[in-house]
Symmetry: C2
Subunit: 171 residues, 2 copies
DNA sequence: CTTTTAGTTCGGCAAAAACCGAACTAAAAG
DNA sequence: CTTTTAGTTCGGTTTTTGCCGAACTAAAAG
Protein backbone atom coordinates (compact mmCIF):
# COMPACT_ATOMS: atom_id res chain seq x y z
CA UNK A 1 0.00 0.00 0.00
CA UNK A 2 1.54 3.28 -1.08
CA UNK A 3 1.44 6.64 0.65
CA UNK A 4 -1.65 7.93 -1.13
CA UNK A 5 -3.68 4.83 -0.35
CA UNK A 6 -2.58 5.04 3.25
CA UNK A 7 -3.73 8.65 3.48
CA UNK A 8 -7.06 7.85 1.88
CA UNK A 9 -7.60 5.04 4.34
CA UNK A 10 -6.67 7.34 7.20
CA UNK A 11 -9.09 9.91 5.82
CA UNK A 12 -11.95 7.40 5.80
CA UNK A 13 -11.14 6.31 9.34
CA UNK A 14 -11.02 9.89 10.56
CA UNK A 15 -14.34 10.70 8.90
CA UNK A 16 -15.92 7.70 10.55
CA UNK A 17 -14.51 8.61 13.95
CA UNK A 18 -15.55 12.24 13.68
CA UNK A 19 -18.91 11.14 12.27
CA UNK A 20 -19.68 9.02 15.29
CA UNK A 21 -18.71 11.92 17.52
CA UNK A 22 -20.90 14.49 15.77
CA UNK A 23 -23.77 12.03 15.63
CA UNK A 24 -23.92 11.64 19.38
CA UNK A 25 -22.82 15.14 20.23
CA UNK A 26 -24.68 17.41 17.88
CA UNK A 27 -27.69 15.16 17.29
CA UNK A 28 -27.17 14.99 13.52
CA UNK A 29 -28.31 12.12 11.32
CA UNK A 30 -25.59 9.60 10.48
CA UNK A 31 -25.08 10.96 6.99
CA UNK A 32 -25.20 14.60 8.06
CA UNK A 33 -22.49 13.77 10.58
CA UNK A 34 -20.30 12.12 7.96
CA UNK A 35 -20.73 15.00 5.57
CA UNK A 36 -19.92 17.48 8.30
CA UNK A 37 -16.87 15.43 9.28
CA UNK A 38 -15.68 15.37 5.68
CA UNK A 39 -16.07 19.12 5.37
CA UNK A 40 -14.28 19.66 8.67
CA UNK A 41 -11.40 17.49 7.54
CA UNK A 42 -11.00 19.04 4.10
CA UNK A 43 -11.31 22.54 5.51
CA UNK A 44 -10.67 25.74 3.61
CA UNK A 45 -11.13 24.61 0.00
CA UNK A 46 -14.43 22.84 0.55
CA UNK A 47 -15.86 19.79 -1.18
CA UNK A 48 -18.21 19.42 -4.16
CA UNK A 49 -21.47 17.54 -4.23
CA UNK A 50 -20.00 14.73 -6.32
CA UNK A 51 -16.94 14.40 -4.15
CA UNK A 52 -19.24 13.82 -1.19
CA UNK A 53 -21.22 11.18 -3.12
CA UNK A 54 -17.99 9.44 -4.07
CA UNK A 55 -16.12 9.65 -0.78
CA UNK A 56 -19.06 8.54 1.36
CA UNK A 57 -20.54 6.12 -1.21
CA UNK A 58 -24.11 7.34 -0.78
CA UNK A 59 -26.90 8.38 -3.12
CA UNK A 60 -27.23 11.85 -4.61
CA UNK A 61 -30.67 12.25 -3.08
CA UNK A 62 -29.42 11.58 0.43
CA UNK A 63 -26.53 13.98 -0.04
CA UNK A 64 -28.91 16.63 -1.34
CA UNK A 65 -31.31 16.25 1.57
CA UNK A 66 -28.60 16.27 4.20
CA UNK A 67 -26.76 19.22 2.68
CA UNK A 68 -29.99 21.20 2.82
CA UNK A 69 -30.47 20.13 6.41
CA UNK A 70 -27.00 21.26 7.41
CA UNK A 71 -27.44 24.54 5.56
CA UNK A 72 -30.79 25.23 7.21
CA UNK A 73 -29.10 24.68 10.56
CA UNK A 74 -26.51 27.25 9.57
CA UNK A 75 -23.68 24.78 10.03
CA UNK A 76 -22.38 24.77 6.47
CA UNK A 77 -22.39 27.08 3.46
CA UNK A 78 -21.00 27.02 -0.06
CA UNK A 79 -19.17 29.21 -2.52
CA UNK A 80 -18.73 28.97 -6.26
CA UNK A 81 -15.75 29.52 -8.49
CA UNK A 82 -16.21 31.73 -11.56
CA UNK A 83 -16.65 29.59 -14.68
CA UNK A 84 -17.42 26.51 -12.57
CA UNK A 85 -20.98 25.44 -11.93
CA UNK A 86 -20.17 23.24 -8.96
CA UNK A 87 -20.81 24.33 -5.42
CA UNK A 88 -17.98 24.03 -2.95
CA UNK A 89 -19.40 23.21 0.44
CA UNK A 90 -17.59 24.09 3.62
CA UNK A 91 -18.27 24.58 7.30
CA UNK A 92 -19.69 28.01 8.11
CA UNK A 93 -16.99 30.49 9.07
CA UNK A 94 -18.62 31.06 12.41
CA UNK A 95 -19.90 27.57 13.02
CA UNK A 96 -17.78 27.29 16.15
CA UNK A 97 -19.15 30.57 17.45
CA UNK A 98 -22.70 29.46 16.63
CA UNK A 99 -22.18 26.22 18.50
CA UNK A 100 -20.88 28.12 21.51
CA UNK A 101 -23.95 30.34 21.30
CA UNK A 102 -26.12 27.23 21.28
CA UNK A 103 -24.31 25.92 24.33
CA UNK A 104 -24.81 29.25 26.09
CA UNK A 105 -28.51 29.17 25.19
CA UNK A 106 -28.75 25.67 26.53
CA UNK A 107 -27.21 26.60 29.88
CA UNK A 108 -29.50 29.62 30.06
CA UNK A 109 -32.49 27.38 29.49
CA UNK A 110 -31.26 25.11 32.27
CA UNK A 111 -30.89 28.14 34.51
CA UNK A 112 -34.47 29.21 33.85
CA UNK A 113 -35.74 25.72 34.58
CA UNK A 114 -33.88 25.69 37.87
CA UNK A 115 -35.46 29.01 38.76
CA UNK A 116 -38.90 27.64 37.99
CA UNK A 117 -38.23 24.57 40.08
CA UNK A 118 -37.00 26.77 42.91
CA UNK A 119 -40.21 28.80 42.73
CA UNK A 120 -42.26 25.61 42.71
CA UNK A 121 -40.47 24.47 45.83
CA UNK A 122 -41.04 27.79 47.55
CA UNK A 123 -44.76 27.43 46.80
CA UNK A 124 -44.79 23.91 48.20
CA UNK A 125 -43.12 25.10 51.36
CA UNK A 126 -45.62 27.96 51.61
CA UNK A 127 -48.58 25.58 51.27
CA UNK A 128 -47.39 22.98 53.75
CA UNK A 129 -47.35 25.12 56.88
CA UNK A 130 -44.83 22.76 58.47
CA UNK A 131 -41.41 23.88 57.27
CA UNK A 132 -40.17 20.77 55.50
CA UNK A 133 -36.41 20.61 55.90
CA UNK A 134 -35.88 18.20 53.00
CA UNK A 135 -37.51 20.54 50.51
CA UNK A 136 -35.42 23.34 52.03
CA UNK A 137 -32.34 21.26 51.26
CA UNK A 138 -33.47 20.71 47.67
CA UNK A 139 -34.21 24.41 47.35
CA UNK A 140 -30.83 25.51 48.58
CA UNK A 141 -29.23 23.14 46.12
CA UNK A 142 -31.24 24.72 43.33
CA UNK A 143 -30.01 28.13 44.28
CA UNK A 144 -26.42 26.95 44.48
CA UNK A 145 -26.65 25.33 41.10
CA UNK A 146 -27.96 28.49 39.51
CA UNK A 147 -24.77 30.22 40.64
CA UNK A 148 -22.68 27.49 39.01
CA UNK A 149 -24.59 27.80 35.78
CA UNK A 150 -23.92 31.53 35.78
CA UNK A 151 -20.20 30.85 36.08
CA UNK A 152 -20.39 28.36 33.25
CA UNK A 153 -22.14 30.86 31.00
CA UNK A 154 -19.55 33.47 31.85
CA UNK A 155 -16.75 31.09 30.88
CA UNK A 156 -18.39 30.21 27.59
CA UNK A 157 -18.84 33.86 26.75
CA UNK A 158 -15.17 34.52 27.44
CA UNK A 159 -14.25 31.60 25.19
CA UNK A 160 -16.46 33.00 22.48
CA UNK A 161 -14.86 36.44 22.51
CA UNK A 162 -11.44 34.78 22.48
CA UNK A 163 -12.38 32.80 19.41
CA UNK A 164 -13.81 35.87 17.71
CA UNK A 165 -10.54 37.71 18.31
CA UNK A 166 -8.57 34.82 16.83
CA UNK A 167 -10.80 34.62 13.76
CA UNK A 168 -10.31 38.31 13.13
CA UNK A 169 -6.54 37.96 13.52
CA UNK A 170 -6.43 35.10 11.00
CA UNK A 171 -8.15 37.16 8.33
CA UNK B 1 -59.60 25.46 40.88
CA UNK B 2 -58.11 25.29 44.36
CA UNK B 3 -54.52 25.63 45.41
CA UNK B 4 -53.74 21.92 45.28
CA UNK B 5 -55.12 21.51 41.78
CA UNK B 6 -53.16 24.54 40.66
CA UNK B 7 -49.94 23.08 42.04
CA UNK B 8 -50.59 19.73 40.41
CA UNK B 9 -51.18 21.46 37.07
CA UNK B 10 -47.99 23.48 37.52
CA UNK B 11 -46.19 20.26 38.37
CA UNK B 12 -47.35 18.61 35.15
CA UNK B 13 -46.35 21.65 33.11
CA UNK B 14 -42.92 21.77 34.72
CA UNK B 15 -42.36 18.06 34.10
CA UNK B 16 -43.28 18.51 30.46
CA UNK B 17 -40.99 21.52 30.06
CA UNK B 18 -38.06 19.82 31.78
CA UNK B 19 -38.82 16.64 29.84
CA UNK B 20 -38.50 18.40 26.52
CA UNK B 21 -35.23 19.92 27.69
CA UNK B 22 -33.68 16.63 28.85
CA UNK B 23 -34.89 14.88 25.73
CA UNK B 24 -32.94 17.19 23.43
CA UNK B 25 -30.06 17.84 25.77
CA UNK B 26 -29.20 14.51 27.27
CA UNK B 27 -30.44 12.32 24.43
CA UNK B 28 -32.91 10.42 26.56
CA UNK B 29 -36.09 8.79 25.30
CA UNK B 30 -39.27 10.82 25.84
CA UNK B 31 -40.35 8.74 28.79
CA UNK B 32 -36.89 8.58 30.37
CA UNK B 33 -36.84 12.37 30.18
CA UNK B 34 -40.23 12.71 31.85
CA UNK B 35 -39.27 10.30 34.59
CA UNK B 36 -36.00 12.11 35.16
CA UNK B 37 -37.85 15.44 35.24
CA UNK B 38 -40.31 14.08 37.78
CA UNK B 39 -37.50 12.82 40.00
CA UNK B 40 -35.67 16.12 39.66
CA UNK B 41 -38.77 18.02 40.67
CA UNK B 42 -39.68 15.87 43.63
CA UNK B 43 -36.09 15.78 44.85
CA UNK B 44 -34.92 14.43 48.16
CA UNK B 45 -37.75 12.04 49.06
CA UNK B 46 -37.89 10.26 45.73
CA UNK B 47 -40.84 8.71 43.94
CA UNK B 48 -42.21 5.18 43.87
CA UNK B 49 -42.78 3.06 40.79
CA UNK B 50 -46.57 3.41 41.06
CA UNK B 51 -46.40 7.16 41.56
CA UNK B 52 -44.50 7.41 38.29
CA UNK B 53 -47.09 5.25 36.51
CA UNK B 54 -49.87 7.44 37.90
CA UNK B 55 -48.31 10.85 37.42
CA UNK B 56 -47.13 10.23 33.87
CA UNK B 57 -50.04 7.99 32.87
CA UNK B 58 -47.91 5.31 31.25
CA UNK B 59 -47.68 1.54 31.44
CA UNK B 60 -45.78 -0.34 34.11
CA UNK B 61 -43.64 -2.05 31.50
CA UNK B 62 -42.47 1.25 30.03
CA UNK B 63 -41.67 2.62 33.45
CA UNK B 64 -39.75 -0.52 34.31
CA UNK B 65 -37.70 -0.42 31.10
CA UNK B 66 -36.91 3.26 31.36
CA UNK B 67 -36.03 3.10 35.04
CA UNK B 68 -33.56 0.35 34.23
CA UNK B 69 -32.16 2.46 31.44
CA UNK B 70 -31.66 5.48 33.68
CA UNK B 71 -30.10 3.29 36.37
CA UNK B 72 -27.70 1.69 33.93
CA UNK B 73 -26.64 5.17 32.87
CA UNK B 74 -25.96 5.97 36.51
CA UNK B 75 -28.37 8.88 36.48
CA UNK B 76 -30.79 7.60 39.10
CA UNK B 77 -30.78 5.24 42.04
CA UNK B 78 -33.23 4.08 44.66
CA UNK B 79 -33.48 3.46 48.35
CA UNK B 80 -35.96 1.50 50.42
CA UNK B 81 -37.64 2.22 53.72
CA UNK B 82 -37.62 -0.52 56.36
CA UNK B 83 -40.93 -2.35 56.42
CA UNK B 84 -41.88 -0.98 53.00
CA UNK B 85 -41.38 -3.04 49.85
CA UNK B 86 -41.53 -0.12 47.48
CA UNK B 87 -38.46 1.40 45.92
CA UNK B 88 -38.03 5.14 46.15
CA UNK B 89 -36.32 6.38 43.04
CA UNK B 90 -34.31 9.56 43.03
CA UNK B 91 -31.61 11.25 41.01
CA UNK B 92 -28.13 9.97 41.85
CA UNK B 93 -26.44 12.06 44.50
CA UNK B 94 -23.59 12.82 42.16
CA UNK B 95 -25.55 13.00 38.92
CA UNK B 96 -24.48 16.60 38.43
CA UNK B 97 -20.86 15.65 38.93
CA UNK B 98 -21.28 12.69 36.57
CA UNK B 99 -22.76 14.93 33.93
CA UNK B 100 -19.88 17.35 34.29
CA UNK B 101 -17.50 14.40 33.93
CA UNK B 102 -19.31 13.40 30.76
CA UNK B 103 -18.98 16.93 29.43
CA UNK B 104 -15.28 16.93 30.24
CA UNK B 105 -14.91 13.57 28.48
CA UNK B 106 -16.72 14.95 25.48
CA UNK B 107 -14.42 17.97 25.21
CA UNK B 108 -11.42 15.69 25.63
CA UNK B 109 -12.70 13.55 22.79
CA UNK B 110 -13.07 16.66 20.67
CA UNK B 111 -9.56 17.66 21.57
CA UNK B 112 -8.18 14.29 20.51
CA UNK B 113 -10.04 14.50 17.22
CA UNK B 114 -8.59 17.94 16.58
CA UNK B 115 -5.14 16.56 17.24
CA UNK B 116 -5.71 13.74 14.81
CA UNK B 117 -6.95 16.17 12.19
CA UNK B 118 -3.92 18.37 12.80
CA UNK B 119 -1.65 15.38 12.29
CA UNK B 120 -3.50 14.45 9.12
CA UNK B 121 -2.98 17.98 7.81
CA UNK B 122 0.72 17.87 8.67
CA UNK B 123 1.00 14.63 6.66
CA UNK B 124 -0.82 16.21 3.73
CA UNK B 125 1.53 19.17 3.80
CA UNK B 126 4.52 16.80 3.98
CA UNK B 127 3.31 14.84 0.94
CA UNK B 128 2.51 17.81 -1.26
CA UNK B 129 6.01 19.31 -1.52
CA UNK B 130 4.50 22.70 -2.36
CA UNK B 131 3.71 24.36 0.97
CA UNK B 132 -0.02 24.90 0.66
CA UNK B 133 -0.94 28.04 2.57
CA UNK B 134 -4.64 27.15 2.84
CA UNK B 135 -3.91 23.92 4.64
CA UNK B 136 -1.49 25.84 6.83
CA UNK B 137 -4.35 28.17 7.73
CA UNK B 138 -6.59 25.22 8.61
CA UNK B 139 -3.79 23.70 10.63
CA UNK B 140 -3.14 26.83 12.66
CA UNK B 141 -6.85 27.05 13.42
CA UNK B 142 -6.75 23.47 14.67
CA UNK B 143 -3.94 24.28 17.00
CA UNK B 144 -5.67 27.39 18.30
CA UNK B 145 -8.85 25.49 18.91
CA UNK B 146 -7.05 22.87 20.92
CA UNK B 147 -5.89 25.62 23.27
CA UNK B 148 -9.48 26.82 23.67
CA UNK B 149 -10.67 23.33 24.43
CA UNK B 150 -8.02 23.03 27.11
CA UNK B 151 -9.31 26.19 28.76
CA UNK B 152 -12.84 24.85 28.60
CA UNK B 153 -11.82 21.59 30.24
CA UNK B 154 -10.00 23.51 32.95
CA UNK B 155 -13.12 25.58 33.66
CA UNK B 156 -15.31 22.50 33.85
CA UNK B 157 -12.92 20.86 36.26
CA UNK B 158 -12.96 23.93 38.50
CA UNK B 159 -16.75 23.89 38.42
CA UNK B 160 -16.71 20.24 39.39
CA UNK B 161 -14.50 20.73 42.42
CA UNK B 162 -16.68 23.67 43.45
CA UNK B 163 -19.75 21.48 43.29
CA UNK B 164 -18.04 18.70 45.19
CA UNK B 165 -17.13 21.15 47.95
CA UNK B 166 -20.72 22.36 48.12
CA UNK B 167 -22.11 18.84 48.27
CA UNK B 168 -19.80 18.03 51.16
CA UNK B 169 -20.81 21.19 52.97
CA UNK B 170 -24.51 20.30 52.61
CA UNK B 171 -24.01 16.95 54.27
C1' DC C 1 -49.46 -23.15 51.33
C1' DT C 2 -52.07 -19.40 48.92
C1' DT C 3 -52.50 -14.66 47.81
C1' DT C 4 -50.88 -10.15 47.13
C1' DT C 5 -47.47 -6.85 46.03
C1' DA C 6 -43.94 -4.86 43.25
C1' DG C 7 -41.86 -5.10 39.53
C1' DT C 8 -39.79 -7.68 35.05
C1' DT C 9 -39.71 -9.82 30.54
C1' DC C 10 -41.11 -10.59 26.00
C1' DG C 11 -43.60 -10.35 21.61
C1' DG C 12 -45.97 -7.21 19.00
C1' DC C 13 -47.19 -2.98 16.83
C1' DA C 14 -47.22 1.88 15.29
C1' DA C 15 -44.73 5.80 14.17
C1' DA C 16 -40.63 8.09 12.94
C1' DA C 17 -36.03 8.28 10.87
C1' DA C 18 -32.96 7.54 7.27
C1' DC C 19 -31.76 6.27 3.00
C1' DC C 20 -32.55 5.01 -1.89
C1' DG C 21 -33.75 5.17 -7.10
C1' DA C 22 -36.08 7.27 -10.69
C1' DA C 23 -38.00 11.02 -12.62
C1' DC C 24 -37.59 15.81 -12.81
C1' DT C 25 -35.69 20.85 -13.35
C1' DA C 26 -33.02 24.91 -14.19
C1' DA C 27 -29.14 26.78 -16.03
C1' DA C 28 -25.13 26.54 -18.81
C1' DA C 29 -22.65 24.53 -22.83
C1' DG C 30 -22.49 23.19 -27.41
C1' DC D 1 -32.74 24.59 -29.94
C1' DT D 2 -30.66 20.32 -27.95
C1' DT D 3 -27.66 18.26 -24.65
C1' DT D 4 -25.20 18.11 -20.51
C1' DT D 5 -24.34 19.28 -15.87
C1' DA D 6 -25.51 19.79 -11.14
C1' DG D 7 -28.51 19.17 -8.18
C1' DT D 8 -33.73 18.52 -6.39
C1' DT D 9 -38.05 16.19 -5.43
C1' DC D 10 -40.95 12.49 -4.45
C1' DG D 11 -42.65 7.87 -3.50
C1' DG D 12 -41.22 3.78 -1.51
C1' DT D 13 -38.57 0.58 1.57
C1' DT D 14 -35.95 -0.68 5.50
C1' DT D 15 -34.48 0.10 10.23
C1' DT D 16 -34.90 1.87 14.51
C1' DT D 17 -37.39 3.73 18.41
C1' DG D 18 -40.69 3.69 21.84
C1' DC D 19 -44.44 2.18 23.91
C1' DC D 20 -47.90 -1.29 25.23
C1' DG D 21 -50.42 -5.54 27.23
C1' DA D 22 -50.18 -10.01 28.92
C1' DA D 23 -47.87 -13.39 31.08
C1' DC D 24 -44.44 -14.16 34.39
C1' DT D 25 -41.47 -14.07 38.91
C1' DA D 26 -39.69 -13.39 43.46
C1' DA D 27 -40.56 -12.09 47.87
C1' DA D 28 -43.54 -10.82 51.53
C1' DA D 29 -48.13 -11.10 53.78
C1' DG D 30 -51.94 -13.61 55.31
Amino acid sequence: MDRKEQMSKLKKELIEEMGVYFESQDILSPLSSRIFALLALVGYDGVTFDEIVEELEVSKSSVSTNLQLLQSMGRISYYTKPGDRKRYFKISVNDMVNRLDDKIDSWQKERKLHEKVANYRKEIIAISNKTNSEIQKDLSFNIHYIEFVDKMIENLQKLKTNILITINQEK
